[in-house]
């Protein structure tokens, strides 16, 4: 039972990440693409943090009397990744607002057809 669960965790997170990727490449609305990108990023973070969990460990803050801690390295990497992710999202949203001003729409098909005609 524990062995099956050992991998099942990763599989569910991979399915969630693929759902996020599907939203990015299959939907035409720019804002929905950005939400899908956020979903993809959050799933990848869950995958990395679950690599660092040690059974029987606790949060990596040094306390008296605690022997095993969870691995602090994935936490550091994912902290940086979360902040970079929000920076990317903010710039993407600013671009969406400017695209709407220039093209009048935020659907990818309409933008391509307008670009094709000019």
């Amino acid at each position: 039972m524990v062995d099956f669960f050992g991998l099942y965790n990763y599989w569910i997170v991979i399915v969630l990440a693929m759902a996020g990727m599907y939203i990015v490449i299959a939907r035409g609305n720019l804002i929905k693409k950005l939400v899908g990108l956020n979903v993809f990023q959050a799933s990848v973070f869950v995958l990395y943090i679950s690599f660092g969990k040690v059974s029987g460990g606790t949060a990596p803050i040094l306390l008296k009397g605690v022997v095993t801690y969870s691995n602090p390295l994935p936490h550091v990497l994912i902290l940086t990744a979360i902040v970079v992710g929000v920076a990317t999202t903010a710039l993407g949203l600013a671009l969406v607002v400017r695209i709407r001003r220039e093209y009048g729409t935020i659907e990818e098909d309409d933008i391509h057809s307008q670009d094709g005609h000019t």
Binding site: A59, I61, V83, A94, V97
Partner: protein, 139 residues
């Protein structure tokens, strides 16, 4: 938002506590969960709540655009300057050991200043981004 009495009263009551919590998270990041990023975001969230209820103009009375832009650059400058000071004191860039007589006290001081720089930049950037989105006009 003029007619939502509960929102206005509760926002005015909660606003100083949120700022206090942001400062707590910033400076106790050494002893519990927290640090510069979380504190900066909580600080920005308090001002975003205030400007959602009372209008962007009154929030910009407290923090004008010039101060926010100085904060964006100032936090990063503080971080880089800590590294330069370490260079001038003879160690590697961003090696905090020579900043005080003992190595441990030097590390503490270095981590404190660096997290302060991070907190200032993150708070200023989040507030600037929200105010920019809120005051944009299409024409």
């Amino acid at each position: 938002m003029r007619e939502y009495l509960i929102l206005r009263v509760i926002t005015k009551l909660l606003f100083p506590f949120i700022l206090l919590f942001a400062l707590y998270v910033q400076f106790h990041g050494d002893f519990g969960p927290g640090g510069g990023f979380q504190a900066g975001v909580i600080f920005a969230a308090s001002f975003i709540l205030y400007s959602m209820v009372f209008g962007v103009r009154s929030a910009q009375h407290v923090l004008p655009v010039g101060i926010l832009r100085a904060g964006i650059a100032g936090g990063l400058l503080l971080y880089a300057l800590v590294g330069v000071v370490d260079l001038l004191l003879g160690a590697n860039y961003l090696d905090y050991s020579p900043m005080s007589a003992e190595a441990k006290v030097g590390q503490h001081l270095g981590i404190f200043l660096v997290e302060l720089g991070v907190g200032i930049t993150v708070a200023s950037v989040m507030m600037t981004m929200f105010f920019t989105f809120a005051t944009w006009r299409e024409d």
